[in-house]
Symmetry: C2
Subunit: 155 residues, 2 copies
DNA sequence: ACCCTAATGAGTTTCATTTTCATTTGCTTT
DNA sequence: AAAGCAAATGAAAATGAAACTCATTAGGGT
Protein backbone atom coordinates (compact mmCIF):
# COMPACT_ATOMS: atom_id res chain seq x y z
CA UNK A 1 0.00 0.00 0.00
CA UNK A 2 1.14 3.59 0.53
CA UNK A 3 0.79 6.56 -1.74
CA UNK A 4 1.51 5.62 -5.32
CA UNK A 5 -0.65 6.25 -8.33
CA UNK A 6 -2.25 2.83 -7.91
CA UNK A 7 -3.13 2.87 -4.21
CA UNK A 8 -4.12 6.48 -4.59
CA UNK A 9 -7.32 5.74 -6.46
CA UNK A 10 -8.29 3.35 -3.72
CA UNK A 11 -7.78 6.01 -1.09
CA UNK A 12 -10.01 8.44 -2.95
CA UNK A 13 -12.68 5.85 -3.64
CA UNK A 14 -12.69 4.75 -0.02
CA UNK A 15 -13.61 8.31 0.86
CA UNK A 16 -16.17 8.52 -1.94
CA UNK A 17 -14.14 10.88 -4.12
CA UNK A 18 -13.51 10.50 -7.81
CA UNK A 19 -10.00 9.99 -9.14
CA UNK A 20 -10.20 12.68 -11.80
CA UNK A 21 -7.47 13.59 -14.23
CA UNK A 22 -6.80 16.83 -12.37
CA UNK A 23 -6.32 15.00 -9.10
CA UNK A 24 -4.01 12.50 -10.70
CA UNK A 25 -2.05 15.30 -12.33
CA UNK A 26 -1.64 17.09 -9.02
CA UNK A 27 -0.60 13.85 -7.36
CA UNK A 28 2.10 13.33 -9.94
CA UNK A 29 3.46 16.80 -9.26
CA UNK A 30 3.46 16.05 -5.55
CA UNK A 31 5.23 12.74 -6.03
CA UNK A 32 7.82 14.31 -8.28
CA UNK A 33 8.62 16.97 -5.71
CA UNK A 34 8.64 15.05 -2.48
CA UNK A 35 11.82 16.79 -1.40
CA UNK A 36 10.25 20.24 -1.82
CA UNK A 37 7.52 22.07 0.01
CA UNK A 38 5.32 23.41 -2.72
CA UNK A 39 2.74 26.14 -2.35
CA UNK A 40 -0.62 26.05 -4.11
CA UNK A 41 0.65 28.49 -6.71
CA UNK A 42 3.71 26.37 -7.33
CA UNK A 43 1.68 23.18 -7.67
CA UNK A 44 -0.59 25.10 -10.03
CA UNK A 45 2.30 26.24 -12.23
CA UNK A 46 3.83 22.78 -12.26
CA UNK A 47 0.59 20.98 -12.99
CA UNK A 48 -0.24 23.30 -15.86
CA UNK A 49 2.78 21.97 -17.72
CA UNK A 50 1.05 18.65 -18.26
CA UNK A 51 -2.50 19.85 -17.78
CA UNK A 52 -2.79 23.42 -19.10
CA UNK A 53 -6.51 23.68 -18.53
CA UNK A 54 -6.45 23.12 -14.78
CA UNK A 55 -7.71 26.03 -12.68
CA UNK A 56 -6.09 27.48 -9.59
CA UNK A 57 -9.23 26.90 -7.54
CA UNK A 58 -9.09 23.22 -8.38
CA UNK A 59 -5.53 23.07 -7.11
CA UNK A 60 -6.54 24.68 -3.82
CA UNK A 61 -9.47 22.30 -3.50
CA UNK A 62 -7.36 19.30 -4.43
CA UNK A 63 -4.66 20.10 -1.90
CA UNK A 64 -7.25 20.40 0.83
CA UNK A 65 -8.80 17.16 -0.30
CA UNK A 66 -5.47 15.39 -0.22
CA UNK A 67 -4.89 16.66 3.27
CA UNK A 68 -8.30 15.41 4.33
CA UNK A 69 -7.68 11.91 3.03
CA UNK A 70 -4.26 11.82 4.65
CA UNK A 71 -2.01 12.10 1.61
CA UNK A 72 -0.70 15.58 2.38
CA UNK A 73 -0.17 17.84 5.32
CA UNK A 74 0.30 21.57 5.32
CA UNK A 75 3.07 23.52 6.95
CA UNK A 76 3.73 27.18 7.42
CA UNK A 77 7.26 28.34 6.82
CA UNK A 78 6.35 31.97 7.50
CA UNK A 79 6.85 33.01 3.91
CA UNK A 80 3.36 34.21 3.23
CA UNK A 81 1.67 31.11 1.97
CA UNK A 82 0.70 27.63 3.00
CA UNK A 83 2.94 24.84 1.83
CA UNK A 84 2.31 21.15 1.45
CA UNK A 85 4.29 17.97 1.82
CA UNK A 86 3.58 14.27 1.88
CA UNK A 87 1.95 13.21 5.12
CA UNK A 88 3.88 10.84 7.32
CA UNK A 89 2.63 7.35 6.63
CA UNK A 90 3.28 6.49 10.25
CA UNK A 91 1.72 8.78 12.77
CA UNK A 92 4.30 7.69 15.31
CA UNK A 93 7.13 9.97 14.44
CA UNK A 94 6.88 13.22 12.61
CA UNK A 95 9.52 15.35 11.09
CA UNK A 96 10.78 18.83 11.74
CA UNK A 97 11.92 21.71 9.58
CA UNK A 98 15.06 23.76 9.87
CA UNK A 99 14.83 27.02 7.97
CA UNK A 100 18.03 28.89 7.27
CA UNK A 101 17.60 32.62 7.82
CA UNK A 102 20.42 33.37 5.38
CA UNK A 103 19.75 31.23 2.33
CA UNK A 104 16.12 30.25 3.09
CA UNK A 105 16.97 26.63 2.55
CA UNK A 106 14.64 24.19 4.28
CA UNK A 107 16.18 21.10 5.83
CA UNK A 108 14.05 18.24 7.04
CA UNK A 109 15.06 16.14 10.00
CA UNK A 110 13.41 13.27 11.77
CA UNK A 111 13.83 13.56 15.48
CA UNK A 112 11.63 11.27 17.51
CA UNK A 113 9.23 13.39 19.54
CA UNK A 114 7.14 10.61 21.00
CA UNK A 115 8.48 11.35 24.48
CA UNK A 116 7.19 14.89 24.04
CA UNK A 117 3.66 13.77 23.29
CA UNK A 118 3.77 11.34 26.18
CA UNK A 119 5.01 13.91 28.63
CA UNK A 120 2.35 16.39 27.54
CA UNK A 121 -0.35 13.80 27.97
CA UNK A 122 0.84 12.78 31.41
CA UNK A 123 1.21 16.33 32.62
CA UNK A 124 -1.74 18.05 30.94
CA UNK A 125 -4.04 15.29 29.76
CA UNK A 126 -3.70 16.80 26.28
CA UNK A 127 -3.75 14.15 23.59
CA UNK A 128 -1.59 15.28 20.67
CA UNK A 129 -2.69 14.15 17.21
CA UNK A 130 -0.27 16.17 15.10
CA UNK A 131 2.53 18.55 15.82
CA UNK A 132 4.95 20.72 13.94
CA UNK A 133 8.43 21.76 14.94
CA UNK A 134 9.89 24.65 13.01
CA UNK A 135 13.32 25.99 13.78
CA UNK A 136 15.00 29.08 12.37
CA UNK A 137 18.73 29.59 12.39
CA UNK A 138 21.82 29.35 10.24
CA UNK A 139 22.67 26.26 8.25
CA UNK A 140 26.14 24.76 8.14
CA UNK A 141 26.90 26.10 4.70
CA UNK A 142 26.01 29.69 5.49
CA UNK A 143 27.76 29.36 8.82
CA UNK A 144 30.95 28.32 7.04
CA UNK A 145 30.59 31.13 4.51
CA UNK A 146 30.34 33.68 7.29
CA UNK A 147 33.40 32.15 8.89
CA UNK A 148 35.37 32.63 5.65
CA UNK A 149 34.44 36.29 5.41
CA UNK A 150 35.52 36.94 8.96
CA UNK A 151 37.48 40.17 9.11
CA UNK A 152 36.06 41.48 5.83
CA UNK A 153 33.63 44.37 5.86
CA UNK A 154 31.72 42.94 2.93
CA UNK A 155 33.07 45.26 0.21
CA UNK B 1 15.68 45.79 32.89
CA UNK B 2 13.13 43.60 31.18
CA UNK B 3 10.02 44.73 29.40
CA UNK B 4 8.15 47.23 31.49
CA UNK B 5 7.02 50.70 30.45
CA UNK B 6 10.23 52.17 31.87
CA UNK B 7 12.84 49.93 30.30
CA UNK B 8 10.80 49.94 27.14
CA UNK B 9 11.77 53.47 26.14
CA UNK B 10 15.38 52.52 26.56
CA UNK B 11 14.98 49.56 24.24
CA UNK B 12 13.44 51.73 21.55
CA UNK B 13 16.01 54.48 21.93
CA UNK B 14 18.84 51.98 21.78
CA UNK B 15 17.55 51.02 18.37
CA UNK B 16 17.03 54.64 17.35
CA UNK B 17 13.24 54.51 17.45
CA UNK B 18 10.99 57.05 19.12
CA UNK B 19 8.80 56.04 22.05
CA UNK B 20 5.63 57.55 20.67
CA UNK B 21 2.25 57.55 22.37
CA UNK B 22 0.97 54.96 19.93
CA UNK B 23 3.83 52.61 20.69
CA UNK B 24 3.35 53.03 24.41
CA UNK B 25 -0.39 52.41 24.04
CA UNK B 26 0.23 49.21 22.10
CA UNK B 27 2.78 48.10 24.68
CA UNK B 28 0.24 48.55 27.47
CA UNK B 29 -2.24 46.39 25.60
CA UNK B 30 0.43 43.74 25.14
CA UNK B 31 1.40 43.83 28.81
CA UNK B 32 -2.23 43.59 29.89
CA UNK B 33 -2.78 40.50 27.74
CA UNK B 34 0.34 38.49 28.30
CA UNK B 35 -1.71 35.32 28.72
CA UNK B 36 -3.36 35.76 25.31
CA UNK B 37 -2.11 35.56 21.75
CA UNK B 38 -3.52 38.66 20.15
CA UNK B 39 -3.77 39.31 16.43
CA UNK B 40 -3.11 42.72 14.90
CA UNK B 41 -6.83 43.34 14.61
CA UNK B 42 -7.32 42.46 18.25
CA UNK B 43 -4.49 44.70 19.39
CA UNK B 44 -5.99 47.42 17.21
CA UNK B 45 -9.45 47.07 18.77
CA UNK B 46 -8.03 47.00 22.27
CA UNK B 47 -5.69 49.94 21.75
CA UNK B 48 -8.48 52.08 20.32
CA UNK B 49 -10.20 51.98 23.70
CA UNK B 50 -7.53 54.23 25.16
CA UNK B 51 -6.26 55.75 21.93
CA UNK B 52 -9.18 56.05 19.48
CA UNK B 53 -7.18 57.85 16.81
CA UNK B 54 -4.66 55.07 16.24
CA UNK B 55 -4.67 53.55 12.77
CA UNK B 56 -4.56 49.88 11.87
CA UNK B 57 -1.45 50.34 9.75
CA UNK B 58 0.35 51.76 12.74
CA UNK B 59 -0.55 48.71 14.78
CA UNK B 60 0.85 46.42 12.11
CA UNK B 61 4.01 48.52 11.91
CA UNK B 62 4.34 48.65 15.67
CA UNK B 63 3.99 44.91 16.10
CA UNK B 64 6.70 44.34 13.51
CA UNK B 65 8.87 46.89 15.23
CA UNK B 66 8.40 45.24 18.60
CA UNK B 67 9.38 41.95 17.11
CA UNK B 68 12.48 43.50 15.60
CA UNK B 69 13.64 44.93 18.92
CA UNK B 70 12.95 41.66 20.71
CA UNK B 71 9.86 42.55 22.70
CA UNK B 72 7.46 40.34 20.77
CA UNK B 73 7.51 37.25 18.68
CA UNK B 74 4.92 36.08 16.21
CA UNK B 75 3.29 32.69 16.06
CA UNK B 76 0.95 31.07 13.61
CA UNK B 77 -1.89 29.09 15.09
CA UNK B 78 -3.30 28.28 11.66
CA UNK B 79 -6.37 30.41 12.19
CA UNK B 80 -5.86 32.79 9.32
CA UNK B 81 -3.82 35.52 10.94
CA UNK B 82 -0.54 36.16 12.62
CA UNK B 83 -0.55 36.33 16.39
CA UNK B 84 1.89 37.86 18.81
CA UNK B 85 3.15 37.14 22.27
CA UNK B 86 5.89 38.41 24.56
CA UNK B 87 9.29 37.20 23.45
CA UNK B 88 11.11 34.93 25.82
CA UNK B 89 13.53 37.05 27.81
CA UNK B 90 15.89 34.10 27.90
CA UNK B 91 16.77 32.59 24.57
CA UNK B 92 17.68 29.34 26.30
CA UNK B 93 14.33 27.72 26.59
CA UNK B 94 11.27 28.49 24.56
CA UNK B 95 7.69 27.52 25.02
CA UNK B 96 5.28 25.45 23.03
CA UNK B 97 1.62 25.71 22.12
CA UNK B 98 -1.05 23.07 22.41
CA UNK B 99 -4.10 23.89 20.33
CA UNK B 100 -7.30 22.00 21.05
CA UNK B 101 -9.03 20.99 17.85
CA UNK B 102 -12.40 20.92 19.62
CA UNK B 103 -12.57 24.11 21.67
CA UNK B 104 -9.67 26.00 19.99
CA UNK B 105 -8.20 26.71 23.40
CA UNK B 106 -4.47 27.43 23.35
CA UNK B 107 -2.40 26.03 26.17
CA UNK B 108 1.19 27.08 26.71
CA UNK B 109 3.75 24.71 28.09
CA UNK B 110 7.43 25.06 28.77
CA UNK B 111 9.27 21.96 27.83
CA UNK B 112 13.01 22.31 27.69
CA UNK B 113 14.13 21.78 24.11
CA UNK B 114 17.79 22.63 24.53
CA UNK B 115 18.75 19.02 23.85
CA UNK B 116 16.94 19.31 20.54
CA UNK B 117 18.97 22.32 19.46
CA UNK B 118 22.16 20.64 20.59
CA UNK B 119 21.41 17.45 18.74
CA UNK B 120 20.56 19.35 15.56
CA UNK B 121 23.78 21.30 15.78
CA UNK B 122 25.88 18.21 16.35
CA UNK B 123 24.25 16.24 13.57
CA UNK B 124 23.65 18.94 10.95
CA UNK B 125 25.80 21.89 11.96
CA UNK B 126 22.60 23.94 11.95
CA UNK B 127 22.63 26.60 14.64
CA UNK B 128 19.08 27.20 15.85
CA UNK B 129 18.25 30.72 16.96
CA UNK B 130 14.50 30.35 17.46
CA UNK B 131 12.08 27.53 17.16
CA UNK B 132 8.36 26.93 17.50
CA UNK B 133 6.59 23.79 18.54
CA UNK B 134 2.91 23.69 17.77
CA UNK B 135 0.81 20.67 18.64
CA UNK B 136 -2.79 19.99 17.73
CA UNK B 137 -4.98 17.56 19.58
CA UNK B 138 -7.69 17.32 22.21
CA UNK B 139 -7.39 19.01 25.57
CA UNK B 140 -8.28 17.29 28.81
CA UNK B 141 -11.58 19.08 29.20
CA UNK B 142 -12.86 18.22 25.74
CA UNK B 143 -11.55 14.71 26.16
CA UNK B 144 -13.59 14.33 29.36
CA UNK B 145 -16.67 15.79 27.69
CA UNK B 146 -16.45 13.28 24.88
CA UNK B 147 -16.12 10.52 27.47
CA UNK B 148 -19.36 11.67 29.14
CA UNK B 149 -21.32 11.60 25.89
CA UNK B 150 -20.12 8.13 25.09
CA UNK B 151 -23.03 6.13 23.71
CA UNK B 152 -25.10 9.22 22.86
CA UNK B 153 -25.63 10.13 19.23
CA UNK B 154 -25.56 13.80 20.03
CA UNK B 155 -29.33 14.51 19.84
C1' DA C 1 -26.75 6.66 -24.92
C1' DC C 2 -28.76 8.70 -20.57
C1' DC C 3 -28.83 10.57 -15.95
C1' DC C 4 -27.33 12.56 -11.94
C1' DT C 5 -24.18 14.26 -9.01
C1' DA C 6 -19.51 15.43 -8.12
C1' DA C 7 -15.98 18.17 -9.95
C1' DT C 8 -14.14 21.88 -12.57
C1' DG C 9 -12.79 26.62 -14.34
C1' DA C 10 -13.15 31.50 -14.81
C1' DG C 11 -14.24 35.12 -12.51
C1' DT C 12 -15.41 37.39 -8.31
C1' DT C 13 -14.95 38.14 -3.46
C1' DT C 14 -12.90 38.20 0.98
C1' DC C 15 -9.78 39.55 4.21
C1' DA C 16 -5.16 40.00 6.36
C1' DT C 17 -1.34 42.62 5.47
C1' DT C 18 1.43 46.13 3.02
C1' DT C 19 2.18 50.27 0.67
C1' DT C 20 1.51 55.16 -0.56
C1' DC C 21 1.55 59.72 0.48
C1' DA C 22 0.10 63.83 2.60
C1' DT C 23 0.08 65.36 7.35
C1' DT C 24 1.64 65.34 12.06
C1' DT C 25 4.72 64.60 15.81
C1' DG C 26 8.93 64.17 18.50
C1' DC C 27 13.56 65.91 18.87
C1' DT C 28 17.33 68.84 18.09
C1' DT C 29 19.23 73.21 16.95
C1' DT C 30 18.93 77.89 17.14
C1' DA D 1 10.16 79.35 22.63
C1' DA D 2 10.33 79.10 17.39
C1' DA D 3 12.27 76.69 13.45
C1' DG D 4 13.73 72.73 10.96
C1' DC D 5 13.69 67.95 9.77
C1' DA D 6 13.41 63.29 9.70
C1' DA D 7 10.64 59.79 11.72
C1' DA D 8 6.07 58.38 12.55
C1' DT D 9 1.23 58.37 11.66
C1' DG D 10 -3.49 57.81 9.51
C1' DA D 11 -6.58 57.18 5.72
C1' DA D 12 -7.06 55.16 1.70
C1' DA D 13 -5.61 52.29 -1.90
C1' DA D 14 -3.02 48.23 -3.31
C1' DT D 15 -1.59 43.59 -2.87
C1' DG D 16 -1.98 38.76 -2.71
C1' DA D 17 -3.31 34.21 -0.89
C1' DA D 18 -7.27 31.73 -0.33
C1' DA D 19 -12.28 30.99 -0.65
C1' DC D 20 -16.50 31.30 -2.99
C1' DT D 21 -20.04 31.39 -7.00
C1' DC D 22 -22.18 29.44 -10.57
C1' DA D 23 -22.62 27.89 -15.15
C1' DT D 24 -20.46 24.01 -17.52
C1' DT D 25 -18.17 19.48 -17.80
C1' DA D 26 -17.05 14.86 -16.78
C1' DG D 27 -17.33 10.27 -14.02
C1' DG D 28 -19.73 6.17 -13.05
C1' DG D 29 -23.72 3.66 -12.86
C1' DT D 30 -28.22 2.47 -15.12
Amino acid sequence: MGTNAAGFNNILQTWGYKPTTQRQAVLEVILKNQDKHLSAEEVFAETKKTNPRIGLATVYRTLQLFEKVGVLQHISLDDGCMRYEMADPEQKYEHQHLICEVCSDVIEIREDMAFFAEKVFLQKGFRITTHQVKAFGICKKCSDDLECNHGNDGK
